[in-house]
């Protein structure tokens, strides 16, 4: 059985059918004129061979081509792109089925941050009253390591509301190079979670090593097709409207291998896309459709996911502003566009502008998490633990996020209102009004025990003390103490024999023997 996710009965729709059509038409026009600049020769040739208008751009210092894509190519690609994409998992109960026509939301971690945020709780003594002591959380940023990635996957494995895992931290150990980063980040993730693992690829040269590792885990090539425990995310179109050289090549090769891949575009409204909602939407939609068209030309039927990471620019420094309400508006719009094409959608929420856990963090995250969830994307990159846009990962924040996703999940349960329920309620009401106390409290007990009531916020302090961080920290350590199901010893041994570049310290069996 796949993971259930949350089926949104009536998805929140921000834009009307007419507005969707207008955006679609504008995107088609953008693909025809001005088209896209393509820095990847093979992609330009593929488009050229399939009927796009491709011309060499002589004015550029890098070889590139102007690609104008006719509407028919796009529509054919939309026809051949699968409407249902399966993302497998080491534990098959964690499989994700993403049906572009069904607004069933799955919550996923990510993205890749450079900074890992440690937390501790030093004690402070009140100057005017030395008998009064308080513990205040202190956050310490440092560069992420492969050990951090293992920890993050470990905790995410145990977070109930997290449906899948996008690697959360860029591994920057001294012995990690461009040539071994991919195998180590995939192995560290796969070995510490039985949920689906998605990541970007640092080096195309590592693609086959990563795929072979996955084959060893599931038992072979056919098994991997049936249960794709890994997938990829590629940002092959740089906004505005440019196929980049390297990621486009990576994307082409992933499509050839038939593994699931997100085609993601991340324009910033105000700088790399128009600030106006219709403008950024027409552009991002054109960029994603261009990538989907390329993928389907490479391998018709390749499992692609409509990916969107639109964001608004801050006006004080032109940095991303994920906390801005417009960012959520763009994401909801993208979900609607993907649904218009009946394609599974990767949307973004939960990313915040703040650098450490706190009140602003909670406001920004919860705001976008609720709204974008309600729109019904199949794969919601809701950024468990992410801070400072995409720069910092904090495990404590991931644990806090799990608690607020439990609240959202509870809220989205379907209402229980039918004739039987109403009859029971009327009986209850008559019983209560006949008593001297006139209290309904006694009827709560069966609801409590059957899980019909939400539980209190798990990090609530006693009395008026705010102990949220300390209690979440305690929970985080409890989760780290819970075992995870690693890849078995024999398979681990084969992986370390056959896949080059893996760090010996990631072999948990070797470590135990020492």
């Amino acid at each position: 059985m796949p993971r259930e996710g949350i089926l949104i009965d009536t998805p929140y729709e921000r834009i009307t059918k007419e507005q969707i059509t207008l955006i679609h038409q504008a995107s088609m026009e953008i693909l025809r004129d001005p088209g896209l600049i393509c820095f990847n020769r093979e992609a330009a040739e593929i488009f050229d061979n399939k009927g796009a208008e491709v011309t060499s751009v002589s004015s550029s210092e890098h070889p590139c081509w102007l690609v104008k894509i006719p509407e028919k190519l796009v529509l054919d690609a939309l026809d051949s792109a699968p409407k249902i994409v399966k993302l497998g998992a080491r534990n098959k109960d964690n499989t994700l089925i993403m049906n572009g026509e069904e607004p069933r939301v799955h919550w996923i971690s990510g993205s890749e941050t450079n900074i890992w945020l440690d937390v501790d709780f030093p004690t402070y003594v009140k100057k005017s009253d030395p008998t009064t002591e308080i513990q205040v959380p202190e956050f310490h940023p440092r560069r992420g390591t492969v050990a951090d990635l293992c920890q993050s996957a470990h905790v995410c494995e145990h977070l109930d509301t997290l449906d899948g895992y996008i690697r959360t931290v860029n591994i920057q150990d001294k012995d990690i190079t461009e040539d071994n980063k991919d195998v180590n980040k995939y192995f560290a993730s796969l070995n510490n979670t039985t949920k689906h693992v998605m990541s970007g690829l640092t080096s195309l040269k590592q693609l086959d090593n990563v795929v072979n590792m996955a084959k060893l885990i599931v038992g072979g090539e056919e098994e991997l097709k049936e249960n794709p425990i890994i997938s990829f995310i590629t940002c092959l179109v740089k906004s505005p409207l440019q196929f980049v050289e390297d990621t486009t090549q990576t994307f082409i090769e992933i499509c050839r291998r038939g593994l699931p891949v997100v085609v993601s575009s991340a324009p910033q409204a105000g700088s790399t896309a128009p600030m106006k909602e219709d403008g950024i939407m027409a552009q991002i939609n054109a960029e994603v459709l261009a990538a989907i068209t390329l993928g389907q030309l490479v391998n018709p039927g390749a499992p692609l996911i409509y990916g969107s990471v639109p964001v608004r620019a801050r006006l004080d420094n032109l940095a991303d502003s994920y906390g801005a309400p417009e960012t959520s508006q763009y994401n909801v719009d993208c979900v609607q566009m993907a649904r218009f094409y009946k394609l599974p959608c990767y949307a973004t929420s939960g990313v915040c502008d703040t650098k450490q856990p706190g009140a602003q963090t909670s406001v920004e995250r919860l705001f976008s998490d609720i709204l974008v969830t309600l729109s019904g994307p199949q794969y919601l990159h809701c950024a468990f633990g992410l801070l400072d846009c995409n720069s910092i990962f904090c495990l404590l924040q991931a644990v806090l996020d799990d608690a607020h996703f439990k609240m959202i999940k509870f809220f989205l349960r379907p209402p229980r209102i039918d004739e039987t329920e109403i009859a029971e309620t009327l009986k209850q009401l008559r019983e209560v009004v006949a008593t001297p106390q006139k209290l309904y409290i006694r009827y709560i007990r069966s609801m409590m025990r059957s899980g019909q009531l939400s539980m209190p916020y798990p990090f609530e302090g006693d009395g008026e003390t705010d102990n949220v961080f300390a209690l979440a920290y305690e929970r985080m350590n409890q989760l780290l103490a819970q075992p995870v199901e690693h890849i078995d010893r024999a398979t681990t041994s084969r992986i370390f024999q056959e896949i080059p570049g893996l760090l010996p310290r990631l072999n948990v069996y070797e470590e135990r023997r020492d």
Binding site: Q437, L439, I441, R442, I444, R445, S446, M448
Partner: protein, 229 residues
């Protein structure tokens, strides 16, 4: 045999089952005798009142209190158990009146004149009854005259006054003044509670205690009882 029935009374207090129709917490309890039926059976079997109260009812409530403090139980569980004990105490009352077994004390409670908000007052009444106090619930919008009459006629040990509104809380001071005028102030301990009042306000009007909730009321009354002993 009496051990069995006392154990069942204790267990059903923990389950919060007043009668056989109640669900309780464990599955398949419905239809089995609750605290009320079991207490009646115990009386028929001549089990002593003291044993029923201390080893059955109070012992059960002790466990409920522990479960509440560890957050295994919540207010609805506590109230269900207190209601069950309260119902049993009603059955036992005629026997207690005819015996030398003493209750923990007489407690009268009501919302003061002008105030009709009684959720808190009702919960306090249920909890104190469940804790073994003889509770006289005077209801809502109770005048000072009515309170004086009850305290005088029933030898009330403890008086609970409840007010939700800042406009009605002043009536609490009036009741205390009326108690003084009628020479009753030293005979009854006055507890106040409700959203409008506070510890400071209790001191200001000369009440004996401010209770933030029903559990605090039990603690305060038990402390008074201990001091009396």
């Amino acid at each position: 045999m009496s051990d069995d029935i006392i154990a069942l009374i204790k267990e059903n207090v923990i389950q919060g089952r007043t009668t056989k129709d109640d669900e309780g917490i464990d599955e398949d309890m419905t239809g089995k005798p609750g605290v009320l039926e079991l207490t009646q059976s115990a009386l028929e079997k001549n089990v002593s009142l003291d044993v029923i109260i201390t080893q059955g009812l109070t012992a059960g409530m002790q466990v409920v209190g522990e479960k509440f403090s560890t957050k295994e139980y919540f207010i609805p569980d506590m109230l269900a158990s207190a209601e069950a004990v309260g119902a049993a105490m009603d059955v036992l009352k005629p026997y207690l009146d005819a015996s030398d077994v003493e209750t923990k004390g007489k407690f009268a409670i009501g919302t003061v004149k002008g105030d009709i908000h009684d959720i808190g007052k009702n919960i306090v009444a249920i909890l104190l009854k469940g804790a073994g106090y003889e509770v006289n619930d005077l209801g809502i919008d109770v005048s000072a005259e009515k309170i004086i009459e009850v305290v005088k006629e029933e030898n009330t040990d403890y008086l609970g006054l409840s007010a939700l509104l800042t406009t009605t809380m002043v009536e609490m001071g009036n009741v205390i003044e009326a108690l003084k005028e009628n020479g009753l102030r030293d005979k009854v301990k006055v507890l106040i509670g409700g959203a409008a009042v506070s510890e400071e306000y209790a001191q200001e009007i000369g009440a004996d205690a401010y209770c933030v909730d029903g559990f605090e009321a039990i603690r305060v009354l038990d402390a008074f009882q201990e001091a009396k002993a």
